[in-house]
């Protein structure tokens, strides 16, 4: 379990990274926390000719307020985000998500940017940033662009970034007033990739009618899977237990497309999606009513 030979660079600044990515293109891989990349290299499933280690660039590790939400540099470690008061206050869904990712040891190394760039369809952050409509700041030698989550994740382990692109920042907008949120998941062991999971954000108006509903699933297809049809059942209505049941059933039966593996069949995953959606909607509803 040794990786194939590769060239190693540890640049000290973002422009240097961009130069290297530009020079080596698809032959290069950015190394962030290494928690996904290094195992794949050791299994020789990934054999990059060049590694561009971005751990020596301190300016990518910030967490700052941004437009009533927060923005996080790509190299923010999971554990840093987990403990950050700004995130707790302005992005409570992210705050609640962090401890559900992997183990303490992995969270100490793994980075927000790495998790998002890796775009694993089972990764919590992928799903949560989609639900929150986060924006991704991407740089390359030519310039910078801001991409919404819906356009960032494009397929299995695939984002809309090109080989010369570097993800530098993710911006988490605030949730509208009277919103409630929830992330529910089932994993064999708490630190495993979840068999199924759903992030829910519900927004109510003053009369407790639902104005906005988002349900985004992990391990349910080749990326973060949204359930707009199920959401439609809720929007415009006062949310009742019957509606919750109907929405959960709709999403689980028609909108997700989970695969089967040794841990769970697609059928069991749909069952879990149904159960978790119901529980997540109940929790989100309660929080929305609580005025969060």
């Amino acid at each position: 379990m040794k990786p194939a030979p590769f060239k190693y660079y540890a640049p000290q600044s973002v422009p240097e990274v961009l130069d290297l990515l530009n020079e080596y293109g698809y032959d290069a891989k950015v190394l962030a926390g290494g928690q996904s990349l290094v195992p794949m290299m050791n299994f020789r499933l990934v054999q990059p000719a060049v590694i561009v280690d971005i751990n020596k660039i301190p300016e990518l590790s910030y967490i700052e307020p941004h437009d009533k939400g927060v923005r996080l540099g790509a190299m923010v470690r999971h554990s840093q985000a987990e403990k950050d008061p700004l995130i707790k206050e302005h992005a409570p869904l992210i705050h609640e998500t962090m401890p559900q990712i992997a183990t303490v040891q992995i969270r100490n190394r793994g980075t927000i940017g790495g998790s998002l760039a890796h775009a694993d369809s089972s990764a919590e952050l992928v799903v949560v940033t989609t639900a929150l409509d986060a924006k991704f700041k991407i740089q390359n030698q030519k310039g910078e662009r801001l991409v919404p989550a819906a356009e960032f994740f494009v397929g299995l382990l695939t984002t809309s970034m090109e080989s010369e692109d570097l993800l530098v920042e993710v911006q988490i907008p605030p949730m509208p007033a009277h919103s409630g949120w929830s992330l529910k998941e089932v994993a064999r062991r708490p630190h495993d990739f979840a068999l199924m999971g759903v992030a829910v954000i519900l927004t109510l108006n003053k009369k407790d009618r639902c104005t906005e509903a988002r349900m985004v699933y992990l391990s349910a297809g080749d990326g973060p899977i949204s359930a707009p049809e199920a959401a439609k059942l809720l929007i415009g209505n006062e949310i009742t237990p019957e509606l919750i049941t109907a929405a959960a059933e709709k999403a689980a039966a028609d909108e997700i497309d989970p695969g089967s593996d040794i841990h769970a069949t697609a059928e069991f995953r749909r069952h879990l999606a149904n159960v978790l959606t119901r529980r997540a909607l109940e929790e989100a509803l309660q929080r929305a009513k609580g005025g969060n």
């Binding site: 379990m1 040794k2 194939a4 064999r188 062991r189 630190h191 040794i262 841990h263 069991f268 978790l276």
Partner: protein
């Protein structure tokens, strides 16, 4: 017997070194000029090799050589049988087929080695492995235990006319007659799946050939250094004194490290001698899944005849046991299953038909528990199901059937893993069982807690399961104990150490005998230069067999000490005592001599050693029991299940164990904790998934789920003590005990938690996905 040191909660003397990185593991052995090996393993489980092309691999700079079976020539030879074949009883079939160093013509399981690369670094060696190309003709794989014996089924070994590795029937009494008397005859089929041992340290071996000394040095992660030395010498045509095997600290054995010889162990010494350079190989985690032995896969059909009061009248059983592609370890594991299928119960009629089958899966040899968990699982499950059918309290059914205290030694009248009659030497089962029920507060739970939690919508259940463990089998083990001129004690035994705390508990025995501090004893385990004879660490036998050998050697040294001291202090031996490293006169403590001084006097520079005596205060003694010592235990758990998500949490876990005399309760409890964690794995998390092509689908710790500390409940351990009558210390083994009853207790608790679901569990492990199917898919 009251002891001063034995039985005390002495902290492990090996821990400071282990915890500060100061202990030697095979991976730490780095020699000048050393080469590294990496293996090309077959992706296919069953395939003919048409050709092998190693030319590209050989061209890589830093590669010293690439070798295949052909290159081994005369040195190519399968591994030896590890245990003797079963006795040639009427009707017994045993086809011995053993693993080979490098595959010649047909691959029999995924991961079998086809070629080896030797290079200046492991990185280069692995680069070269990627460049080897083998042309295969894939063959249909043998995986299904029940179908593989059908005529016309593909064959693992083409020279046999079926996939039958062994066949044997064991019988006691007359089951068919008993069945006629029965009020209830239950029949169930059980499926027990495969798991891995997953020692924290994988296997590894470093070999160095000293041309001038004509001496071969081997560091090996083996549980059995002495047999490895003996076998290696024989394979290489060397004398045993030309080979030294050291099993230094080993990060977990759990059984698979007794296997000998693994292909890698056959290839590396050959390479070392051929190249005249040291060669190192450390197994990586992926290789460990493909190359290190596994266990537990069986299909069983079990019939139990009972009276309406719940008395077991007889058990009939058919076991199909998967041995994987080879059967180097003979019948040890399935015989253990038979030995435990009657549990600790007084069963007069037993008939068990055993089929051992070859499949294209990784080789099966014992893994902690070694066939016993499967036996306990079926008998305990059958009793649970019978209790439901007969509307009896499952506790009463067990109480009724336990072998009574006065029936020991109890002859089960079948043969055990050592081919001797299965005699349970001693036991007192009922009190231990009652103690477990009391500690887990069974009555309170079912009368108060459970109804209260149910009213809150929580599904919580209880399971309490007793079990026996045959331990401490022969043939023998030895120990050498010597007083050094410094007064400190050196000792050695042949049982390698993989976490069993030998350096502490054996030191306690010596400290007890010789009146020294535990810290003053330095024990070497697993170095063939230190002791010549021995077998190894397995079958929960260290404390019994090696422990009593240590006691015998220490007692003999004590005798020598007393004899010499009596002469010097001019005091009769029975007035002397050993205390604080001194021998002193009991009522005149100032009149004493230190052990160190005695050791010097016992090895004089002048004069003659008297006839009939030996120099030094040293002794080597052996212990070989006629039959084993049977331990007993009861485990109980309270668990909660969410019948919507199938997630399970264990809230309470208690274990009552009776391993006779405890050398060190801390160590005993540690063994139970470790065993329970493996048992929880076997019950709920750990399954090796093979597909219908015998491809292993989860050869990594991302998908093979072992319980981590986060999944472990707090475990309360309680002790009972029924000393073993056939050894001086009265010890019984406990190394495997913890793992044995857990799947059975888990199944009982889960059924108990879900009374409305009509759930009947007859398989282990039970994943959430499988539980979902059982609960919601009634056609199953």
């Amino acid at each position: 017997m009251t002891y001063k040191v034995i039985g005390k909660r002495v902290k492990r003397v090996e821990d400071p070194r282990l915890l500060t990185g100061g202990a030697l593991f095979v991976g730490d052995v780095n020699l000048p000029n050393m080469l590294h090996a990496a293996f090309f393993r077959s992706d296919y489980a069953h395939a003919k090799i048409k050709s092998i092309d190693t030319s590209l691999a050989k061209e890589i700079p830093g590669v010293v050589g690439v070798y295949t079976a052909e290159d081994m020539g005369e040195a190519w030879e399968p591994g030896p049988p590890l245990v003797s074949p079963p006795p040639t009883l009427e009707g017994v079939v045993f086809n011995s087929r053993r693993q080979v160093p490098l595959v010649k013509d047909k691959v029999k399981h995924a991961g079998e080695i086809i070629a080896v690369v030797v290079a200046e670094s492991r990185y280069i060696a692995e680069d070269a492995v990627e460049e080897i190309y083998v042309d295969y003709e894939p063959l249909p794989a043998v995986t299904d235990l029940e179908k593989c014996l059908e005529p016309g089924h593909p064959l693992v070994h083409d020279d046999l006319d079926s996939n039958l590795a062994a066949y044997l029937v064991q019988n006691k009494g007359d089951y068919e007659a008993a069945k006629k008397e029965a009020d209830l005859v239950l029949k169930r089929k059980f499926k027990l799946d495969r798991g891995a041992a997953v020692a924290m340290e994988n296997r590894g071996i470093v070999v160095d050939w000293d041309q001038k000394n004509q001496h071969l040095m081997i560091w090996d992660t083996t549980q059995s250094p002495i047999p490895i030395r003996n076998g290696m010498a024989a394979r290489l045509g060397l004398r045993t004194h030309q080979v030294r095997v050291v099993a230094p600290f080993v990060g977990g054995g759990f059984g698979p490290k007794i296997m000998m010889f693994y292909a890698e162990e056959m290839v590396l010494p050959w390479l070392t001698m051929k190249l005249n350079r040291p060669v190192k190989w450390i197994e990586d985690r992926k290789e460990n899944f493909y190359a290190t032995t596994q266990e537990r896969e069986q299909v069983q059909e079990v019939e139990m005849a009972l009276s309406k009061e719940g008395r077991i009248l007889g058990i009939k059983q058919k076991i199909i046991h998967d041995t994987g592609a080879f059967d180097p370890y003979g019948l040890t594991t399935p015989l253990n299953t038979q030995s435990h299928s009657m549990g600790g119960y007084d069963v007069q009629n037993y008939n068990s038909e055993l089929f051992v089958v070859f499949t294209n899966k990784i080789i099966v040899t014992p893994v902690r528990g070694a066939g016993r968990p499967q036996g306990i699982y079926v008998v305990e499950r059958m009793l649970d199901i019978a209790s439901k059918e007969l509307k009896l309290d499952p506790r009463d059914v067990r109480r009724l059937n336990f072998i009574p205290k006065d029936a020991f030694p109890y002859n089960h009248e079948i043969i055990d893993q050592a081919f001797v009659e299965l005699v349970l030497d001693s036991g007192n089962y009922l009190p231990a069982y009652e103690k477990a029920l009391e500690k887990i507060e069974y009555d309170k739970f079912v009368q108060e807690e459970q109804p209260r939690l149910r009213a809150e919508g929580k599904y919580v259940g209880i399971g309490v399961v007793p079990f026996i463990e045959t331990t401490g089998v022969g043939p023998y083990e030895g120990a050498r104990v010597a007083v050094e001129p410094s007064g400190k004690i050196s000792a050695a035994t042949g049982v390698g150490t993989q976490g069993q705390s030998h350096m502490t508990s054996f030191a306690q025995i010596i400290a007890e005998e010789l009146g020294v501090e535990v810290e003053d004893v330095s024990l070497v385990s697993g170095d063939t230069a230190e002791i010549h004879w021995g077998t190894g660490t397995f079958a929960s036998r260290g404390a019994v067999v090696a422990g009593n050998a240590v006691l015998a050697a220490a007692s003999d040294v004590r005798k020598k000490v007393l004899k010499l001291a009596s002469k010097i202090l001019e005091t009769p031996e029975d007035e002397l005592e050993l205390e604080g490293g001194l021998v002193r006169v009991a009522d005149i403590p100032e009149k004493s001599i230190s052990l160190g001084e005695l050791a010097v006097l016992a090895n004089p520079f002048r004069g003659a050693v008297e006839p009939g005596t030996e120099p030094g205060l040293e002794s080597t003694k052996y212990f070989g029991p006629a039959y084993g010592a049977t331990a007993f235990g009861v485990h109980g758990m309270i668990l909660e299940v969410d019948p919507e998500t199938m997630m399970i949490k264990i809230h309470k876990y208690i274990a009552v164990e009776d391993c006779g005399t405890m050398l060190n309760p801390l160590v005993v409890e540690g063994q139970i904790h470790g065993g329970v964690s493996m048992g929880i794995g076997n019950a709920y998390y750990e399954k090796l998934h093979y597909d219908e092509n015998a491809q292993l689908l989860n050869a990594s710790l991302a998908d093979y789920l072992i319980p981590t500390s986060a999944e472990m409940p707090h475990i309360e351990v309680y002790h009972e003590n029924t000393p073993a009558p056939n050894n001086k210390l009265g010890t019984k083994g406990v190394g495997e005990a913890g793992a044995i009853p857990v799947p059975a207790a888990f199944a009982q608790a889960l059924e108990n938690a879900l009374p409305d679901f009509n759930l009947e569990i007859t398989e282990t492990p039970l994943s959430p996905n499988r539980l979902y199917e059982l609960l919601y898919k009634s056609e199953e």
